[in-house]
């Protein structure tokens, strides 16, 4: 459990005496997890009661409560529930291969954007240790995946997606232009949306969005993304321990990357700083997608 939550351990994963600030952060994180579990118990109990009352009740598609309670959606179920999109073209924006010793699983997750509607969704290949040799690990993907039938799991901002088969085609400059067009240019509206989604206790705590920044700069040592209206978001790696840090890579990028580009960013509300911050995952330029994490 400690390992799962990453709680009560220092930067080197050791349990022991921690500096006050770190202890404070851990307590905030733990309380948030408890509140989340509490909400899950309440909502889960209500849902299960409904199911007891009506055994024929179909799985809810407007929330991820079934998955929270352990239901493993099959592709056939997703199709039956109408959670299917056809002829979708997807571009992978980020990829992460994780080892989760607490859950005894390898998790390969990809962040994808649909070129048609700009929605950002995620793939997850979960390989339990015991079955790892029988399940092929996923790799990062640098082309466009043309998917005939895309199944979308119930969920919030970045729901999980799956498909049976796809045809790859090379990524063209037009595709990059499309991704850039889908990026959110108005930070203020986006921030409102993110805050609104975060208040739901079972919402994804670190939603991913594409945002178009006018420039990246520094204010008092903090790296900041600013939109064309002057609205700002602070960049930070804090609290996202399962992804490698990426903010320090920004000064190493070509100067052209520091203005008028699109950032694929993970939002996170820092409960101690009481601030909403973003962590860059990739930069999309007219020429390429520069991945900053793996």
């Amino acid at each position: 459990m400690l390992s799962y939550l990453g709680l009560f351990t220092d930067d080197h994963g050791q349990v022991g005496d921690l500096p006050p600030a770190r202890a404070e952060a851990i307590q905030s994180e733990a309380l948030e997890h408890l509140a989340r579990l509490h909400a899950l118990v309440k909502q889960g109990r209500a849902y299960l009661k409904q199911r007891l009352d009506d055994p024929n009740l179909s799985l809810p598609t407007d929330s991820a409560i079934a998955a929270w309670l352990g239901h493993a959606w099959q592709l056939a179920e997703l199709r039956e529930a109408g959670l299917v999109e056809t002829d979708v073209e997807l571009v992978q924006l980020a990829f992460r291969a994780q080892d989760d010793p607490a859950r005894q699983e390898f998790i390969d997750s990809g962040v994808w954007m649909s070129l048609g509607d700009g929605k950002i969704r995620v793939t997850q290949t979960i390989r339990p240790y015991k079955a790892a040799r029988y399940i092929k690990s996923e790799d990062s993907f640098f082309q466009v995946a043309c998917v005939k039938e895309l199944c979308v799991y119930p969920g919030g901002v970045n729901p999980r997606i799956r498909w049976d088969g796809m045809t790859p085609r090379p990524l063209q400059p037009d595709d990059l232009a499309t991704i850039r067009r889908h990026a959110r240019e108005d930070f203020a509206t986006l921030i409102k949306e993110v805050k609104a989604s975060l208040k739901s206790p079972l919402a994804d705590r670190t939603p991913i969005h594409a945002l178009r920044y006018a420039r990246l700069g520094k204010v008092g040592g903090q790296v900041v993304a600013e939109d064309a209206q002057g609205q700002r978001l602070i960049l930070s790696d804090a609290g996202i321990d399962d992804e490698p840090p990426s903010c320090h890579l920004l000064p190493l990028l070509p100067p052209a990357c520091l203005a008028d580009q699109v950032m694929i960013a993970r939002f996170r509300h820092d409960l101690d700083a009481r601030a909403l911050r973003i962590k860059p995952l990739s930069i999309v330029t007219p020429e390429t997608i520069l991945r900053l994490t793996f």
Partner: protein, 619 residues
């Protein structure tokens, strides 16, 4: 909405959660907040809800306190999520872009499947990591900016060889761009990793390093101070500092100071070096001269060696003999790689006198060691010394013949090499050279022992390291084709591999037989290492069968990927026609080996069509 009071409620809730729900009921600090919350609730109804939730904690049924506390926590957290600050006030300063000097290649991004094992190698502690990291460096993978952080961390790898690769090969790739990152972690009081950081900063950006270097000389730890000395430049101030440190009590500090001094063109330096050569710093200074390659200093070293040689033959005292011979052998070794014409002439003059001191007995250094050192120096110094050594082969017994032959490989024409050394093989039968007892019982003067040495020099060491082949590959063309016939006659696999040519019928038959014999008796993957490589390298028709048979054998044994790490790397060199058979193997493999295999198949699939290896029908 009153954020301040909400924050207070959150802090109190957190405090109570840490303390435990059993102390939450009636908590006066939380209770004190209820009234202000209710007041604020008249303006913002959500705060009235918070007030209700807080009241249930402090005044509700005691048995329900835990649940009430969680309700309050969930509510306050949810509200705070909507109230987080986002921006920051102030002038937006530009980020100073210190983009990678090779920024054109920054867009090259490795796949996760390539990165993962490399990251494991950089952050793990197991064996086999050096080869993996080295290979990644050669493939240019470190130009992916995502590897900067792990590469910087690996500068502190407990295995010094990896830290060394990071310092000398990998991190310099990023140029000035990483200097701020190195500076951020630099601690002048720290240990070796900080010395590495300082040296790197100096190498990448001497201007930035200068104040750090001067500070480290004054306040640095021993390791950092040594690094700082090595970073001193050629200004007059630096010279004075180095001269001062050359008199330090600590031997390592003196060594670092001398290393700095030899970079100075100042006329004071040769005098200081000459004095040091006569002191207990002799060996250290000799090594520094070797590194510097300065002709004027090499001449000083030669003079010192000559001084030590003068009168050596007349010495009786074993201790004195030992001391002198040790100094001379070290000095001769230090001449190597200097490229000095004076040193070459000195060695050519010394070589004929090598037996002059043979009867001297010291403890432990004796006249024999001096002779060996002279031969060793001849064997490596230059083409002229190597030629002289090779041409003198008849004067040596088997133990020294290998050095003559190696020197000849490098320096003589293929025909001359064959003429000089092939008689050792033609005068010997295969039974004599194959006899295992030869390895244990060598009569150094017998021709069979000498023939065995020739074969072993050609390829006997190969069972240990395949990389040697790559190192020597450029030399292979220097072998007269007749060597292959001789190697096949003596059935020496290593020698055959060294001088082999693709498509030679005798070679193909020999490799096929050798593989069948080896696979049936191999107990360890390494037993198959050389023959499988040979089959693939010489594009033998059985190469794919050999790879698959070896894999099958290893799968049934309890071997880890590092026992057969070399196997997948050969897959990409097979004909494309092998693809389907290779793919059938994938499910039988495990873990990392399976991943490597899949990657190798991918590489083979992507490999351009090779008209000599792939028939049109196979593509």
């Amino acid at each position: 909405m009153s954020i301040a009071i909400l924050n207070q409620v959150y802090d109190e809730t957190k405090r109570l959660a840490v303390a435990g729900a059993m102390v939450a009921h009636g908590d006066f600090r939380l209770k004190k907040l209820i009234a202000p919350l209710e007041l604020a609730g008249t303006q913002a109804p959500v705060l009235a809800k918070v007030a209700d939730a807080a009241r249930r904690v402090v005044e509700g049924e005691e048995s329900q306190t835990a649940e009430a506390l969680l309700d309050l926590a969930a509510l306050v957290t949810a509200i705070l999520f909507t109230q987080g600050t986002t921006g920051v006030e102030g002038q937006l300063e530009p980020i100073e872009s210190i983009h990678l000097e090779q920024h054109r290649s920054i867009g090259i991004q490795a796949s996760a499947r390539t990165l993962k094992p490399l990251l494991d190698a950089l952050t793990g502690t197991g064996s086999g990591r050096v080869a993996q990291i080295q290979e990644a460096h050669e493939r240019g993978l470190f130009r992916d900016p995502r590897l900067i952080t792990p590469a910087l961390k690996a500068l502190d790898d407990p295995y010094a060889e990896i830290a060394e690769i990071m310092e000398k090969k990998v991190l310099p790739l990023y140029g000035k761009a990483i200097v701020p990152l190195l500076r951020a972690d630099y601690d002048p009081q720290g240990k070796t990793v900080n010395a590495r950081r300082l040296r790197l900063i100096h190498r990448l950006d001497p201007e930035t390093a200068r104040p750090l270097v001067l500070d480290a000389l004054e306040h640095g730890s021993k390791e950092v101070k040594l690094a700082a000395l090595a970073c001193l430049g050629d200004g007059p101030d630096d010279l004075a500092r180095l001269v001062e440190q050359a008199r330090a009590r600590n031997q390592e500090v003196r060594a670092a100071a001398f290393a700095g001094l030899v970079k100075h063109p100042d006329p004071v330096v040769p005098g200081l070096i000459q004095t040091a050569l006569q002191s207990k710093d002799y060996q250290t200074v000799a090594d520094i001269i070797q590194e510097s390659k300065r002709e004027d200093l090499v001449v000083l070293l030669i003079r010192q060696i000559q001084t030590d040689l003068d009168g050596l033959a007349q010495l009786d005292d074993k201790k004195e003999i030992n001391t002198r011979v040790e100094r001379i052998t070290h000095g001769l070794h230090a001449l190597n790689d200097t490229g000095s014409t004076a040193a070459e002439q000195f060695l050519l003059n010394l070589f004929p006198k090598r037996d002059q001191w043979i009867k001297l007995k010291g403890t432990p250094y004796s006249g024999n060691d001096l002779r060996d050192a002279i031969i060793q120096a001849m064997a490596t110094f230059s083409t002229a010394t190597q030629t002289a050594l090779a041409q003198a082969h008849a004067e040596f017994e088997a133990d020294m013949l290998a050095r003559c032959f190696k020197a000849g490989i490098t320096s003589l024409s293929p025909a001359r090499l064959f003429d000089l050394f092939s008689p050792y093989l033609t005068a010997t039968t295969p039974e004599e050279t194959k006899h295992p007892a030869l390895k244990a019982k060598v009569n150094a003067k017998s021709n069979s022992a000498k023939a065995f040495v020739i074969l072993e020099t050609l390829g006997g060491h190969r069972s240990g390291s395949w990389w040697d082949r790559h190192d020597e590959e450029s030399l292979d063309d220097q072998f007269d084709p007749r060597w292959l016939d001789l190697a096949l006659t003596h059935q020496h696999l290593g020698a055959v591999v060294r001088v082999g040519k693709i498509g030679h019928p005798g070679l193909d038959a020999f490799l096929a037989t050798t593989f069948q014999e080896t696979i049936s008796t191999a107990k360890d993957p390494n037993d198959l290492y050389l023959i499988v490589h040979a089959l693939v390298t010489f594009r033998h028709p059985l190469a794919t069968d050999a790879i698959l048979a070896t894999s099958e054998k290893m799968v049934t044994g309890k071997y880890q990927y590092y026992h057969i790490w070399w196997l997948p790397s050969l897959v990409a060199q097979l004909p494309k026609a092998s693809l389907s058979r290779l793919e059938e193997m994938v499910p039988k493999l495990k873990g990392y080996t399976q991943q490597q295999w899949v990657e190798a198949i991918k590489e083979l699939r992507a490999r351009p069509w090779d008209p000599e290896l792939d028939t049109p029908a196979q593509t």
